[in-house]
């Protein structure tokens, strides 16, 4: 595929000219970085000297999101994003997306799809990676021709998802986050969604919005609509593209649907997604584990996605409401070493775009969960019924003000296999008896010390960071002044930390022993 069309140079130029942008940031993912000089050069020659172009790479968070912070460092007026995108709305800058054009054998794909059509009686919904969107029109016509040939009657229905658009404009989508939430809420109530108060109902439809003429879904830059008498579970989802995070997003969100993936590179159909389903179960375990946590760290994993501030705030309130302590941390992309610097946190909530939200590794000291999972874990009386939301925008809609019902039952912890008591944010008992309350608090203060530090440190019994630090065995500098006379000085080590000079020498002398 030729360079100009692959990078959509002309469309980019049109867009930049139309917007009258003079400072433009070009954001490349690592794998496309090698093409960036050429793209910049071609664009410059097209646009002339009046437009300044900046190449951005190595985003602090996922490269699928628009790096608005990076762009604002150069005072860019807009961002052109290349490569795989999660299409999360931006909060300040307009952005244009160039998905690239991955090669696909349309004939083969259509054949395979036709094969699918003949083997199922479910209607088929075609979803695809955004890099294949360029081939969609062609595919549609090829499939239409072949189905007409093979089936005289219409047969099972085919439904294609559309791309939302390759331009995101913050001024339209959301000037301020609050406006956006309201508008989303409005759209729901306007759409005749009657049971607005019923939280569960909303959750259930958190993935789709009801319209007059059907249910409208939006996921990872795709949008589609199904008739109101159909449910998404009735569809066979046909995914064109590789097994990447966008696909995982689809599998998890529509975990009740039958899904078939067409791999364009290998030209074959794949149907076994037990790996992805396993992820779902694992996430379920993490939710259960989060319920037992006392201290929660909120990791801010995006500084670009619109609404990240309000979801962070919402998480804080949720955690506080559940009687737990929260700390907000901004640390770029989390890794085990960074997380282990906060051993007091029993669980982390990672606020990020939908496609980088799933972080699970054996290397992490504490599990990382998504805001949706946090809502399940910390919202009282909530139960997981199978639906899954990765995008926090859907979540902001779905969990409005928590209806605090009176605690009917103690919480059962499956991690510990018994009832666990959660601290209630407001304790009614203490108002009734002031004298007793005083006695109890002093007693508590006295008892704290008797609790063995081990249980606080390593069993997650700490209620706050300060309690955790108080339990540490190391409290300050060592004082080893047994003999007060000054010691004679010795020559220290030299060299690099990975192996000091004297150690290197040892290693050379006896290579066998040092291995």
């Amino acid at each position: 595929m030729d360079f100009e069309s692959n990078y959509e140079i002309s469309r980019t130029v049109d867009y930049l000219r139309a917007g009258n942008f003079t400072r433009v940031a070009l954001q490349f993912p690592d794998e496309l970085l090698k093409d960036s000089p050429r793209v910049a050069k071609v664009l410059r020659s097209e646009l002339g000297a009046g437009v300044r172009l900046f190449v951005m790479a190595d985003a602090a968070y996922g490269s699928c999101c628009v790096d608005e912070i990076g762009a604002s460092h150069v005072d860019a007026e807009c961002v052109v994003h290349y490569g795989h995108a999660c299409m999360s709305p931006t909060s300040t800058l307009p952005a244009m997306f160039v998905f690239g054009k991955a090669s696909i054998d349309i004939k083969d794909c259509a054949d395979q799809m036709g094969h699918c059509l003949s083997s199922t009686n479910k209607p088929i919904l075609v979803l695809y990676g955004l890099e294949y969107s360029h081939a969609l029109m062609h595919l549609k016509t090829v499939v239409a021709e072949s189905t007409v040939l093979s089936h005289s009657n219409s047969g099972p229905m085919l439904n294609y998802a559309d791309v939302i658009g390759s331009v995101i404009n913050p001024s339209q989508d959301c000037t301020t986050e609050k406006v956006q939430i309201r508008s989303l809420n409005d759209s729901i109530t306007n759409a005749g969604f009657t049971s607005g108060g019923d939280e569960k109902k909303i959750l259930k439809f958190g993935n789709g919005r009801r319209m007059e003429n059907g249910t409208c879904f939006e996921l990872g830059g795709l949008t589609w609509r199904i008739p109101s008498d159909h449910k998404i579970e009735d569809y066979l989802l046909f995914w064109i593209g590789p097994e990447n995070s966008a696909f995982t997003n689809v599998v998890l969100t529509f975990n009740n649907c039958e899904i078939i993936r067409y791999d364009a590179d290998e030209r074959r159909l794949l149907e076994d997604f037990s790996g992805q389903r396993r992820i779902l179960k694992r996430r379920y375990y993490l939710v259960e584990k989060a319920k037992d946590a006392n201290i929660v760290g909120i990791l801010v994993g995006t500084l670009g996605c619109a609404g990240y501030l309000s979801i962070t705030q919402q998480m804080k309130e949720l955690i506080k409401g559940a009687g737990k302590k929260s700390y907000t941390l901004v640390m770029g992309r989390p890794n085990s070493a960074k997380l282990a610097n906060f051993p007091e946190c029993d669980v982390f909530v990672y606020v990020s775009c939908a496609q980088t939200a799933l972080l699970d590794s054996k290397e992490f000291l504490a599990p990382i969960i998504t805001p949706f999972e946090a809502a399940l874990a910390f919202g009282r009386g909530r139960q997981w019924t199978g639906e899954y939301v990765l995008n926090f925008h859907d979540l902001m809609v779905s969990c409005g003000p928590e209806a605090v019902s009176g605690i009917k039952e103690a919480r059962f912890s499956f991690i510990k296999g018994g009832y666990m008591e959660d601290i209630q944010p407001e304790e009614n008992g203490e108002h009734e008896e002031r004298s007793l309350a005083l006695a109890e608090t002093t007693e508590k203060a006295l008892n704290l010390q008797s609790q063995h530090p081990n249980t606080i440190m390593f069993k997650g019994a700490a209620r706050s960071g300060s309690e955790f630090f108080a339990a540490r065995s190391y409290q300050g500098l060592n004082r080893q002044y047994e003999n007060l006379a000054p010691q004679s000085y010795a020559i220290g080590r030299s060299g690099r930390a990975s192996g000091y000079a004297d150690e290197k020498m040892q290693a050379n002398e006896s290579p066998g022993a040092a291995v």
Partner: protein
């Protein structure tokens, strides 16, 4: 017709000297439930005629179908004793009315947790032993448990009818058998010397042993016969009793008592002459339908039969006659009332076992004195499913004070720590209930010394709890029960329809409540796990889960899963080193197996994180040959800070070492929970920190750098020290006749088991076989065994120890290697183990 009302019961509940709380314990199939029937019948709850067939206390359908007791069932019975029968009673009493709170418990080893729960709330135990089979495994286990709880036992030698009808043994032979049974029981009891409890052994001549035939509803103690003959011989009753047991012979020809057999044909042992022979005679006349002879004999004994009963023949007649002559309830009740302690008496010495707090505070005193005016102390030992599905009665015993309907109580759960709010609730009791047969009666309140069921607390109690008054913030909880079995058999359950998940979650919650032992947890992979003591236990639990607690929603149950442990065989072949992510810090470590017995000592809590370092180093140096100084350098135990692995500091002169200790410990807790081989818990590994190189700036040696490094170096040390898997092993006891032995050995061999003891039961054709059997091979063992021995062998398995698997798990294709790859697959891990090079760094 029920002979008593709830009001009557409630009245006696206040008379703390007239209450007996007792459990019936025995080996499986020794006739507990059947015998209990006789007692229930005497209280009028079921008809005398059907006693022994109804098995009143087996309330569940599956209990009736299988013919075994599964849940322990409590029942409150009321008896009015005659003045005459009580005249010899020396203890305190008020009136002649007695309340017996009786708990029938299961005999199968898989349900021993039910026995534990029953024992906690009773003061005495009726130990039932089959006169032919004798003292069996489970008899021994429950007896030990009872004595550990300071429960006073009395014994009944049951199934006497087998002697007369089935085996037709002669008097002297029967005596020898009984004597041996009693001796065997006494041997066990004698090991529990307890000054406060006094002599707990049982003696027929003191009236603490009864002889019963539960199926036919008759029983006697020597007291019965002594009373009969005392007048005749003109001697004291107690003197007569002594003569009826042991080496006392009577020759009717000379009418003389001697201390040994004179050799004359008419000279017989007292017991044989005066107890065994008359019964044998009556039974044989009944069975032979010699009615004329029978009526004459009965008249002599002072037994009158109703006219319609005289029409009966054969077995029915025999049953009726024996029931009238020697009613089981009279003998057993008398034994209980005379020899089992009242709550007032028992709580004096049990308080030490029960109360966790200081033994001189008001709560301890209230328990000690069984004070109804004192603060409420109540222990809930189990939850009983109520008739409306999903709700539970909290069943327990009031140790002091009173619990009343509508009362607000403080619920202290098993994790409650005095002074804190953890695991503590204040709720009100909706209703207090007592059990009368199959139905429950509400009562206003229940005073101390009684068992009680409460409504409205089930959503705050998982399995057990201590209840006290709302205001009693200083009260300590009552000590948690110690179970003799552990939940080693696990299955993963999931619902067939994904949207039933909330139902499953709810069902598991209820299941966890309904059984004292079952554990419902969730695996790292997100699977729900149900763990039970054995195959049968799990089967019952899963049936309950699906049918009762999930409203019939279908579940899918995986094959049983056994958890393994990871250990090491030798010391690491070299000191391994790992670098921190920033490469500025290095940890050097070695792993070595712990000394034999040390892991067990940690399990038992003899050595633990909270020991005084001096005491710990004494045990370690004296018993395990540790260096005294080294014993003081133990950094921690793990997993869960108490597990049987440890980290020991062997470094010399390392700067900032104290700073990273917490981080290393955190890494160790994490690593020891998920070992490098198959992410199973580690066991019996001692990690030695050999050397540490740290960056001079504190910021570069923080937790973030050290915790992941400590984990990696621990894994590297484990992998270089010949890692091995440990598998759980059952101790299996099998009782079978000689001809079944071949089949037993065959099955055991095929299942990797090995026999280490084979004993013939003296006086019987039965053999007792003890063997070790890997838990993983035990699934389907009982049925295979039954098939191989045509149903003659019945195994009882209890978890015994962890056994090392000799094959190398690192070698693919070996037995352990296969196991590891199965475990990893099940857990959703990479099938290939992470190689050592991922954990170990080079300089």
């Amino acid at each position: 017709m029920v002979k008593f009302t709830a009001e009557e019961l409630r009245r006696i509940m206040d008379l703390k000297h007239n209450i007996r709380n007792m459990s019936v314990i025995a080996h499986v199939d020794h006739g507990k439930s059947t015998l209990t029937d006789s007692l229930v019948a005497a209280a009028g709850i079921i008809a005398q005629e059907v006693a022994g067939d109804v098995r009143m206390t087996d309330t569940r359908q599956d209990e009736a179908e299988r013919g075994i007791t599964i849940k322990s069932t409590g029942i409150s019975l009321f008896y009015e004793m005659t003045e005459e029968s009580l005249k010899n009673y020396k203890g305190e009493r008020s009136g002649n009315e007695y309340l017996i709170n009786l708990i029938d418990s299961p005999g199968h080893v898989d349900f021993s947790s039910e026995v534990t729960a029953a024992l906690r709330i009773t003061d005495g135990a009726l130990v039932v032993v089959d006169c032919v089979e004798g003292v069996c495994v489970q008899t021994e286990t429950v007896l030990r448990q009872a004595l550990g709880e300071r429960i006073r036992p009395v014994l009944t030698v049951n199934k006497m009818d087998r002697c007369f009808l089935e085996l037709q043994v002669e008097g002297e032979e029967a005596y020898q058998t009984f004597q041996r049974v009693i001796e065997n029981a006494n041997v066990i009891m004698a090991t529990y010397e307890d000054t406060l409890l006094g002599d707990v052994q049982v003696y027929p001549e003191k009236g603490t042993v009864a002889f019963s035939a539960g199926l036919h509803g008759w029983a006697f103690t020597l007291t019965n016969f002594a009373k009969m003959y005392a007048a005749k011989f003109g001697v004291d009753e107690s003197k007569m009793m002594e003569r009826l047991w042991g080496e006392n012979y009577f020759d009717p020809a000379t009418k003389k008592w001697t201390n040994k057999n004179t050799g004359s044909p008419t000279c017989k042992r007292g017991f044989v002459q005066f107890c065994y022979e008359p019964i044998k005679q009556i039974i044989s006349t009944c069975m032979n339908d010699q009615k004329d002879k029978l009526w004459a004999m009965l008249q002599k004994l002072g037994v009158t039969m109703k006219s319609e009963e005289k029409e009966l023949i054969g077995k029915a007649l025999m049953k009726r006659v024996m029931q009238t002559w020697l009613p089981a309830s009279d003998a057993l009740l008398e034994m209980m009332i005379f020899h089992l302690p009242s709550p007032a008496k028992a709580q004096k010495y049990r308080v030490e076992n029960l109360y966790e707090g200081p033994l001189d505070d008001i709560y301890a005193n209230a328990i000690r004195n069984c004070d109804p005016e004192g603060p409420l102390m109540l222990y809930v030992s189990k939850m009983i499913p109520a008739s409306d599905k999903g709700r539970f009665f909290a069943f327990g015993r009031v140790f002091s004070g009173k619990v009343a309907t509508g009362m607000k109580v403080r619920i202290m759960g098993p994790n409650y720590v005095p002074g804190q709010k953890k695991d503590l609730y204040v709720k009100s009791v909706q209703r207090t209930v007592i059990w009368m047969g199959k139905k429950q009666e509400s009562v206003e309140d229940v005073p101390c010394g009684n068992t009680v069921a409460m409504v409205g607390l089930d959503q705050f109690i998982t399995k057990n709890a201590t209840l006290t008054n709302e205001k009693e913030v200083d009260a300590h909880p009552i000590r948690a029960m110690k179970f003799s079995v552990s939940p080693v058999v696990r299955v993963a359950v999931q619902c067939k329809v994904a949207s039933d998940l909330p139902k499953l979650v709810e069902g598991l919650k209820r299941l966890a409540k309904s059984d004292p032992m079952v554990v419902c947890t969730i695996e790292e992979s997100g699977e729900h796990i149900v763990a039970g003591a054995g195959e049968l236990h799990l089967e019952i639990c899963l049936k309950d889960l699906q049918e009762d607690f999930m409203g019939g929603a279908e579940i899918v149950v995986s094959d049983p899963v056994v958890s393994f442990r990871e250990t090491v065989l030798e010391k690491s072949c070299r000191t391994v080193m790992s670098k921190s992510p920033n490469k500025h810090n290095r940890l050097y470590m070695e792993a070595r197996p712990m000394e034999e017995g040390l892991a067990e000592a940690i399990d038992e809590g003899r050595i633990g994180p909270r020991d005084d370092p001096k005491a710990r180093s004494k045990i370690l140096s004296e018993e395990f040959g540790w260096d005294k100084d080294l014993a003081k350098k133990i950094w921690c135990f793990g997993p869960e800070t108490t597990g049987p692995n440890m980290v020991v500091d062997m470094c010399k002169g390392v700067q900032y070492l104290n700073e990273i200790k917490d981080s290393v410990v955190a890494g160790f807790q994490w690593a020891s929970k998920e070992g490098a081989v198959a992410e199973e818990n580690m066991r019996g590994i001692c990690f030695e920190v050999c050397d540490v190189v740290l960056h001079a700036d504190a910021i570069h040696r923080g937790g973030g750098q050290v915790i992941p490094t400590a984990r990696r170096v621990i894994y590297a040390a484990q992998l270089t020290a010949k890692p091995r898997l440990l598998e759980p092993v059952y101790l299996v006891e099998i009782q079978a006749p000689e001809q079944a032995l071949g089949g037993i050995y065959g099955v055991l061999n095929q299942k990797r088991g090995h026999v280490f003891e084979e004993l013939q039961r003296p006086g019987t054709p039965l053999y007792n076989i003890k063997a070790y059997l890997p838990v993983i091979e035990s699934f389907g063992f009982s049925s295979t065994l039954r098939a191989a021995t045509s149903g003659q062998a019945f195994p009882q398995s209890v978890f015994d120890h962890w056994d090392i698997m000799s094959s190398d798990p690192l070698e693919p294709g070996s037995q352990a290697g296969q196991l590891v790859s199965d475990i990893r697959k099940r857990k959703g891990l990479k099938e290939q183990m992470t190689p050592l090079s991922e954990y170990e760094d080079k300089l």
